[in-house]
């Protein structure tokens, strides 16, 4: 008895050491670049000048910066909403009524992943002549392209969420009680895949906030394009904004994951939020060069 407890204790201690080491290594790995960014923004104009937060102060006064931030946030919201409105009913419908089409839909949704952004632009440019003609030249029209861009990630997240619940039985129960298809698609299924919806939205937000290539090549001014331009004129301010947007996205993810926590013990358990966040790091923030 005492021996097993001793073994368990030793094993637990070893596990704790392992955990700490992994945590520290990962922390160093992720935080070093962030710290380096911060360090860079606090340098003065010359190597000898004292450290200052002047670059951070200049964010507010940089022309176009605030408006590009607003644009990117607007794009993020529109893209998320449009993606959900488009994808969720489609996926429910395919799951229930046209299971044979599932592979086709999956293929279509994953397609943007295999097409390089630069190729996408070549195709999108003529389309955007029409988009501009019909919807004006607001940068918000970028959400049309962004909805396509986020499909591969959001499709996976939503599909996982739908597989976790019994969509068929739930919708049949609802229909036998008198619910039409709209009720099923908006009031029955989505509330039970909140975590998946949140995941998909987060992925969209993160992707949109970090998108550079399409916006730049289609001549729209979003946050990343502005950061890039600013970087050529005023490097410390551009890095400060980049760091700021990173921290903003981080804060967003953390706060949203708290929003999703079950209220007390009474809410149904949901799948965790953590897993699908991994690709955000690579897919989004790598693009600003």
């Amino acid at each position: 008895m005492a021996r097993t407890r001793g073994i368990n204790a030793r094993r637990r201690r070893r596990l704790n050491v392992f955990r700490t080491v992994v945590l520290v290594l990962l922390g160093v790995f992720f935080l070093t670049p962030l710290f380096a960014m911060f360090e860079f923004t606090t340098r003065g104009d010359t190597p000898s000048s004292p450290r200052s937060l002047a670059a951070w102060g200049e964010i507010a006064s940089a022309p176009n910066l605030i408006s590009s931030i607003v644009t990117s946030l607007g794009l993020a919201v529109i893209t998320s909403v449009a993606m959900i409105v488009l994808l969720v009913p489609t996926m429910i419908w395919v799951r229930l009524r046209l299971p044979r089409l599932f592979r086709v839909i999956e293929f279509l949704c994953l397609l943007p992943l295999t097409i390089p952004a630069i190729v996408l632009v070549v195709g999108l440019a003529p389309v955007y002549l029409w988009v501009t003609y019909f919807f004006g030249d607001s940068a918000l029209t970028l959400s049309f392209a962004y909805v396509i861009l986020v499909l591969p990630y959001t499709f996976r997240a939503l599909d996982a969420g739908m597989s976790a619940i019994d969509v068929r039985t739930m919708s049949e129960a609802a229909r036998s009680l008198g619910a039409g298809w709209t009720t099923v698609m908006f009031r029955i299924i989505p509330p039970n895949m909140r975590a998946a919806l949140l995941n998909a939205s987060l992925l969209s937000v993160a992707l949109v906030l970090g998108e550079f290539t399409l916006a730049n090549l289609l001549n729209f001014l979003n946050l990343q394009v502005e950061i890039n331009q600013l970087g050529q004129a005023n490097a410390p301010v551009s890095i400060a904004v980049a760091l700021g947007s990173l921290l903003f996205a981080f804060a967003l993810l953390v706060s949203l994951s708290f929003v999703d926590r079950p209220r007390g013990s009474s809410a149904p358990p949901d799948e965790g939020l953590i897993a699908p966040l991994a690709p955000v790091e690579n897919a989004t923030w790598g693009q600003q060069a």
């Binding site: 619940i165 019994d166 039985t169 739930m170 049949e172 129960a173 609802a174 229909r175 036998s176 009680l177 008198g178 619910a179 039409g180 009720t183 029955i188 509330p191 039970n192 009474s266 809410a267 149904p268 358990p269």
Partner: protein, 386 residues
């Protein structure tokens, strides 16, 4: 065995409506799931559909509910043809085999959901949902979510939810099969009590014969997409119309027999045939274990045709026991006897059996797939000619 309960006479609530399924057909990719299925449910009646796996029970129910489209045939509810109506316009309450409560709603909200869709006022909704939960004995759990309830409780809420909309028809698709035996028996009686109380015409699908016989006004035995027999539970059990029904409902012995004229010779006893049109020749007789009685020990000559054998197993089932007797020549039969009699014959003792001269069903087909459940293994005998 349960006797038929008078149709709709025990209902204290409003009367149910008549439901007619007429010649329903449904094929899946070349497989015929329903093949001319007809059934009439009288107002307030509970019919249990019983049959082996894959015989089309669920398909029949889903066609009635409108969750599946029929290839042919009609569903007529209260004189109106509803075949073309979508599921959400049919006013049918359904309880599913899988747990189907909406996880994001409490029990009360689940029950009130159908009422909300019908625009019932909030106060009345709450009242009626409360009443329904009372009816299934769950008022204390009204504010719980599905994951905070047991399987049995969830199915009760599902029943309350289906009944809350005051459906014209109540459809239950093996609602108890995910529950353990004790809860199952309890809940089955409760479903019957509730059904009698509200008086809703009900179609109850199950593959558990005990369940069907215990709860239904009439039992419909299905086979390969059509109805084989529809009768009161007692009749289905004691006077099966076909060998399939005889073998599927209850336990039976398959014993080699010789048909000649209007009788079959089984173990040396001439028994009248149920189906007198059976052609002459060898066949298999389907004999209930109750048809055997113990005639006494070897040497007793007071009986005309005693069957001598050795008891090889005894199964104690409570008031009755079932003994397996080896009659020699590779033939074993099961007999069901009062436990007081059977206890005198432990395994290994010699026994004399007597076969009652009830009308007998004969078949020339292979054995039916035995239904699940402890009392349902058919005894197969091969080797000895009648």
């Amino acid at each position: 065995m349960t006797e038929a309960v008078g149709v709709a006479t025990l209902g204290t609530g409003r009367a149910g409506v008549q439901v007619r399924l007429e010649d329903l057909r449904r094929r899946y990719a070349g497989v015929s799931a329903l093949d001319g299925f007809s059934l009439t449910l009288e107002p307030g009646e509970l019919i249990a559909l019983l049959g082996p796996s894959g015989c089309g029970k669920t398909t029949a129910l889903r066609l009635v509910a409108g969750l599946e489209d029929a290839d042919g045939g009609q569903v007529v509810v209260d004189g109106k043809d509803v075949t073309g109506l979508p599921a959400n316009k049919r006013d049918m309450g359904m309880v599913f085999q899988a747990y189907s409560l909406f996880p994001h709603m409490t029990a009360r909200q689940n029950v009130a959901f159908g009422l909300r869709l019908r625009g019932v006022k909030s106060s009345e909704r709450k009242q009626r949902a409360g009443d329904m939960l009372d009816l299934v004995g769950l008022s204390a759990q009204a504010d719980r979510y599905a994951h905070q309830m047991s399987g049995g409780q969830q199915q009760r809420v599902a029943l309350a939810r289906a009944l809350a909309i005051r459906p014209k028809v109540l459809l239950l698709d093996e609602p108890l099969s995910a529950l353990d035996a004790k809860v199952r028996a309890q809940l089955r009686d409760e479903i019957r009590r509730v059904q009698l109380e509200v008086g809703t015409t009900t179609l109850f699908v199950t593959h558990d014969q005990e369940e069907a016989l215990a709860i239904a006004d009439r039992v419909g035995v299905m086979r390969a997409g059509h109805l084989e027999q529809l009768d009161a539970p007692g009749t289905v059990y004691s006077r099966p119309q076909t060998p399939f029904v005889a073998e599927f409902v209850g336990l039976s012995n398959r014993i080699p027999a010789m048909v000649s004229g209007k009788t079959a010779e089984v173990l040396g006893v001439h028994l009248p045939l149920v189906d007198e049109t059976t052609s002459d020749g060898p066949a298999i007789a389907i004999v209930r274990p109750e048809a055997f009685t113990l005639a006494g020990t070897i040497g007793d000559t007071s009986l005309d045709a005693p069957l001598a054998g050795t008891v090889i197993a005894t199964a104690f089932l409570g008031a009755v026991s079932r003994i397996t007797v080896d009659l020699g020549g590779g033939l074993t039969v099961m007999a069901q006897l009062p436990t007081s009699e059977a206890s005198a014959y432990p395994a290994g003792t010699a026994a004399l059996l007597h076969l009652r001269t009830d009308a007998v069903l004969v078949t020339r087909e292979a054995a039916v797939v035995p239904a699940p459940g402890p009392a349902a293994a058919a005894v197969e005998n091969v080797g000895r000619a009648g």
